[in-house]
Amino acid sequence: MAEQTYIQAISDALEIEMKRDDSVYILGEDVAEFGGAFKVTRGLHEKYPGRVINTPISETAILGAAIGSALNGMRPVAEMQFMDFVTNGFNQLANVASTTSYRWGMGVPMVVRGPSGGGTSGGPFHSRNSEAWFAHTPGLKVVCPAFPDDAKGLLATAIRDNNPVMYFEHKALYRSIKGEVPEGEHTVPFGEVRVVREGTDLSIITYGSMVHKSLKAAEKLAENNISVEVVDIRTLVPFDEEGVLRSVRKTNRALVVHEATSHAGFGAEIVARITDKAFDALDAPVKRVAALDAPTPFAKTMEEFVLPQVEDVVQAAEAVVGY
């Protein structure tokens, strides 16, 4: 074990997987000598010459080329400089990568990774949480790590998977979150929730940056003798329905929390599964905490208002428990 930041753990996974398998390579904008806008790929170009490829500003070409090379035996890791820009290449993912197994029976072992999420005054075009778009597309796997050890282990699993994987890094966690990370090769299986705090009164089902805000909320709620279980789903696709239901059946109350906007967000899917499969276990309606249905604004004051905060989680939790 070694203490690492979230971003170090991601870089570490890339390096280990590149060392382990010659077919793993990186392509994206400014990723080679420069090491990427956030320095995730720093040093890899020197260590693995020819396997870290700078591309023009062409998200369609990056993603399309990743697909083509994946069909031809490579395991590309495509970096989106900001996940927001994946929209420019959306068609490659939504129509080409996602249907190739279904139509051709061929795997497309590729990872699309990059910084997403808000809280950094990035404004409407550098803050988006777009995981639900991809979770709504059959044929893509969707990963949203919250902790350094998961960031490392889930990225390794993503690279080894034979299907296209969308890997959402939260940029606000890059250097703010540290944790113990297993050294050397480390994988974390997809489709298994992680109970990050045990509790008995309420289950908070969450992922990504909101795991950390939910943990802070749980601390505060504990002061009022409310015992909260925090469940990090880690992967949206595949989704560990049983893991979520297990927690809800134990606490009989659920609050679903994510940073992405509320309307038709992934939280709606989680709520639907809970009410469908664990209705009898519920002592209160399931609530959601998510961003307001607005673009993420630039001004710090407005951004804090639009994105869900610890206090929003606390209040919603109290409402569910007090129902």
């Binding site: 062409s58 070409a61 399309g64 090379s69 031809n72 080409v96 279904y102 059959p138 796997k141």
Partner: protein
């Protein structure tokens, strides 16, 4: 009707092709034509499934280009490139099962027309979204370049599809990386109902090559030997590490966009002009004039193909479609 190009009246004889190969080219072109005719008949009889996109007029472009590849070179064909599939050794039965979504079809009934992929033949069909496969083709050969193998990808796009943004991103990336990619623009004068002057404002689509710093050429797409020679040169340049080429092949879409479309928007004189340049008739006449095949031999070949086609159709139409439950399977491959 103005054409941006001076055509030669006669076939531009290739210095590379042997007469045996010339016969092969004709056979592939005839197969494409007969397959197409059969699909058209089935459509009118209500026995086809979905849209039927005729390749009539595209025989020389599809066949001549694919014939310039080696077996190991990946092919990324479009909806009117059935001739290229025959060049790659696809049989009528396989293609017919795909087109009619019968059990045993390569895509399990999940998708139709020429959209299938077949690793064994290095064929990677298109998705409907025009232009989307150009970057995929670029990535495919990027992988080979990284491993030091020397494959060349051939990708096809229409005069309409060439206006999709993917075209630019892919050709630019391929040019920067000097990828072995040959892009055939099949300029058949129409994209659905839209004529080329509403599609682009340059004289020749191959002029775009200048903007990418690569080679580009516009040729008569109804002359199979000229298409072959031009593609062969581009393939060799690509294999030698000199990067991509854009080849604009001019021809005419001789039927509607698909069989439901009577193409009444196409001027009659335009069709008459191109009818004079029918790729199959031209080549057959030239082969006869040059003593390579006799008219009787050609009739014989055509007859055999027709019989095979009809027999195959009779068998395939009797086959069931796949089990309904197949529709929920195969979304992911094993991790």
């Amino acid at each position: 009707m103005t054409l941006p190009f001076e055509f030669s009246e006669t076939i531009q004889r290739s210095d590379i092709l042997r007469d045996e190969q010339r016969k092969e080219l004709l056979v592939h072109m005839l197969k494409a034509r007969e397959f197409d005719a059969a699909m058209g008949r089935m459509y009118r009889q209500g026995r086809a499934l979905g849209g039927v996109y005729s390749q009539l007029g595209n025989e020389a472009t599809a066949v001549g280009s694919a014939y310039a590849l080696e077996a190991n070179d990946p092919l990324f064909p479009m909806h009117r490139d059935i001739g290229a599939h025959f060049v790659r050794g696809c049989d009528i039965d396989t293609l017919m099962r795909n087109h009619l979504a019968r059990v045993g079809s390569q895509m399990r009934g999940t998708d139709g027309t020429g959209h299938y992929g077949d690793h064994s033949k290095k064929i990677y069909g298109n998705v409907s979204h025009l232009g989307a496969m150009i970057p995929v083709a670029a990535g495919y050969v990027l992988a080979d370049k990284m491993r030091g193998t020397k494959s060349v990808a051939m990708n096809y796009i229409g005069d309409g599809g060439a206006q999709v943004g993917d075209f630019h991103e892919a050709m630019n990336l391929a040019s920067v990386q000097k990828l072995p990619l040959v892009l055939i623009i099949e300029n058949n004068q129409y994209a659905y109902s839209t004529p080329t002057d509403e599609q682009f404002a340059c004289d020749k689509l191959s002029d775009r090559a200048i903007g990418y710093g690569i080679e580009g050429v516009t040729i008569d797409g109804t002359d199979v030997e000229l298409v072959f020679d031009t593609c062969r040169q581009a393939v060799e340049r690509a294999r030698a590490g000199h990067g991509p080429t854009i080849i604009e092949a001019l021809s005419m879409r001789m039927r509607g966009h698909a069989e439901h479309d009577d193409a009444s928007y196409v001027p009659k004189d335009m069709l008459e002009y191109w009818q004079q340049r029918d790729p199959v008739d031209r080549y057959a006449a030239w082969l006869i004039d040059n003593g390579i095949l006799t008219a009787d031999e050609i009739d014989g070949i055509r007859k055999v193909i027709k019989e095979e086609m009809n027999e195959c159709i009779d068998t395939v139409v009797e086959l069931p479609m796949p089990d309904p439950e197949e529709g929920g399977k195969g979304v992911f491959v094993a991790s």
